[in-house]
């Protein structure tokens, strides 16, 4: 397929303006224009109908047979959360046997705290983020957690716009300290209430956040390299 790499969320390091015509053409050329809307259109509707997360994932290239589809995650806990927060719980799904919640950023700290205190998710496995430059809410911040008493794993996600802050989870799980610092380092997402939010893997003076999609793999902070390493370029 010639347009295989032009999927809704395909990797592109080009500026958005360059990519736009190709993206606009994709649904027209695809045979299933209705079934494969661009991600930007699919996302906002998901928050309006929280109990019908039928197609939260952007489908793959149109010609490809659809892979496994996330199914709704029904449990007592989810029902309870829905009752309390209503549309704040944007999605509760199960994909390939793994459950995840998508929650509104405003209720994130409460949900995380309840996950630990009421649901027994006492071990925060990982905090990370994913960058989707074409979406309105560019970043997904993810919390992978595990419950020792229940031997269960789940994920809580929240979506934020570029420049928006996320409340820190350090007071809920100590381990979030370095993990959030890494997300800040790599994506530039600021965690409010973090005890010492500074870069962890890159030098403190480094400019840019490498895991953003607009940061090319060959990009570097040339100035830093020249001053600190005394060479023309690190490449």
């Amino acid at each position: 397929m010639p347009e295989e790499s032009k999927g809704p969320d395909s990797i592109s390091l080009q500026p958005e303006g360059v990519k736009a015509p190709a993206e606009a053409a994709a649904p027209g050329t695809g045979t299933e224009g209705v079934k494969a809307p661009p991600a930007a259109a699919a996302r906002p509707t998901a928050s309006v109908k929280p109990d019908a997360p039928a197609a939260p994932k952007p489908p793959a290239a149109p010609a490809k047979s659809a892979g496994p589809v996330p199914e709704p995650w029904e449990s007592e806990f989810v029902a309870h959360l829905r009752q309390q927060y209503g549309s704040g719980i944007e999605e509760a799904s199960r994909y390939l046997g793994q459950t995840y919640l998508v929650v509104d950023q405003a209720i994130l700290p409460e949900v995380l705290r309840r996950m630990r205190d009421d649901e027994g998710f006492d071990y925060l496995v990982d905090v990370t983020a994913v960058h989707y430059p074409k979406r309105d809410q560019q970043f997904e911040v993810l919390y992978v957690m595990y419950s020792f008493p229940k031997n269960e794993r789940t994920r809580v996600k929240t979506k934020i716009k570029d420049g928006e802050h996320v409340p820190s989870a350090v007071l809920i799980w100590e381990t979030a300290n370095w993990l959030e610092r890494e997300v800040f380092d790599m994506f530039g997402i600021v965690f409010d209430g973090h005890p010492g939010l500074k870069r962890i893997l890159l030098p403190d003076e480094w400019k840019g956040h490498p895991l953003r999609k607009d940061y090319d793999i060959l990009l570097q902070d040339r100035e830093w390299v020249q001053i600190n390493l005394g060479i023309e370029s690190g490449q």
């Binding site: 793959a60 290239a61 892979g67 496995v125 031997n151 794993r153 381990t175 370095w178």
Partner: protein, 383 residues
């Protein structure tokens, strides 16, 4: 001129006390320091020789593995993961291959699973041997280093015969294994098992009841189980604190549920217990090896995987019990040939965060012991 001269400092009695109480020394340790196992820099705040606090400075070995992953195809990224925890490269590869297999909804055939388990357990032994040798050397025992590295050679020889590489093996492929076992593989593994068990006794003879070893490790760097869980510490460090948790048992992957083995746990959560747990873990690995090599089935070693790997759009988190703890991969696929995002959840990085809590109130020499007992590999911390 007009200021009166302060003579209070001449009062030697008071001066002495205040001097001892108020002086804090900031000491830099590393990044080039033999006991930091790579390029770890620790800034120590000291009162005399007592550690008041630490700050880790990491990132000297940062290569941007996650960014590289986004710019390579699924198969091309496979060798890169070996370079993270380079003393346990097989485990890294296993975790990555399994995660992509989950995305593809395929499972490696039984024979491939057995080969994978055998190599991963061999790798666990070799990783623990590196830990034992270097950790003992840090504390002042030189002999275990030679013993451990001498015996590790036997593991590396099996790796080399199997896939041609000793350290960064790239032994597994997405969907199974690419190499069939060589003639005499089973015999080699069996021979290694019977060779290695007496060697383990030899290590223990050198250390377990050694008075210097016991004094240097007992009660040093204690981590309570609740601290471990709050800090996300996994692997032998968690088990030494008494939490009986091993992903091979709690969420079995590959064919681990076929084997009879135990999860060794400690009681006190100190450096000595972590030593005992790792030694016991090596014995359990030998048990798994002995069972696996007897029961290894025949059949294909590769599942039906397309030539061009294009998993359907979606995201998966999968983790395995690496020698150092929970090694997790979170991969987001957008349906193309390259992962949209690869996140590695490295056990060393998260475990290292516990260093500060463990060394507070101890002496500088104990910091060396605690870094050793955490068993970090900086290639994985910094990625």
């Amino acid at each position: 001129m007009s200021q009166p001269i302060d003579t209070s400092y001449l009062d030697l009695d008071t001066k002495d006390e205040t001097f001892l109480d108020s002086t804090e020394l900031v000491l830099n340790m590393g990044p080039q320091h033999p006991s930091t196992h790579g390029v770890l820099r620790v800034i120590l705040r000291l009162d005399g020789e007592k550690v008041l606090g630490t700050e880790c400075v990491i990132g000297y070995l940062h290569r941007g593995v996650e960014k590289i992953g986004e710019n390579r195809t699924y198969a091309m990224f496979n060798p890169y993961v070996d370079r993270m925890d380079y003393v346990a490269a097989v485990s890294n590869g296993l975790g990555y291959c399994e995660t992509v297999e989950n995305l593809l909804s395929v499972e490696a055939p039984p024979r491939a699973q057995y080969i994978r388990v055998i190599l991963t357990e061999l790798c666990r032994i070799s990783s623990h041997q590196v830990w034992l040798g270097t950790h003992a050397l840090d504390i002042g025992a030189v002999t275990p280093l030679f013993y451990a590295f001498r015996d590790r050679e036997e593991v590396l020889k099996i790796f080399e015969k199997y896939c041609g590489a000793r350290l960064t093996t790239h032994a597994f492929r997405i969907g199974g294994c690419i190499y069939e076992t060589y003639d005499g593989f089973e015999q080699d593994v069996k021979k290694f098992c019977s060779f290695f068990l007496p060697k383990l006794d030899e290590y223990e003879e050198l250390l377990t009841t050694n008075r210097i070893w016991v004094t240097r490790t007992k009660g040093v760097g204690i981590l309570k189980p609740e601290d471990c869980i709050a800090l996300g510490v996994t692997g032998p460090v968690l088990r030494a604190s008494g939490v009986k948790w091993d992903l091979r048992k709690s969420q079995p992957y590959e064919c681990y549920k076929d084997f009879d083995f135990k999860i060794p746990t400690g009681i006190n959560g100190d450096t000595y217990d972590r030593y005992l747990v790792r030694i016991a873990e090596m014995r359990q690995s030998v048990r798994i090896l002995q069972q696996a090599v007897e029961a290894i089935p025949t059949g294909p070693i590769m599942a039906k995987v397309p030539k061009v790997i294009k998993p359907p759009a979606g995201e998966v988190y999968h983790s395995i019990e690496a020698p150092k703890g929970e090694l997790g991969y979170f991969i987001v696929s957008d349906g193309s040939t390259q992962p949209y995002r690869v996140r590695v959840r490295p056990p060393s990085f998260v475990n290292l965060q516990a260093l500060d809590k463990m060394v507070r109130g101890l002496l500088v020499a104990d910091v060396v012991a605690v870094i050793g007992t955490l068993d970090i590999v900086l290639g994985e911390v910094d990625r």
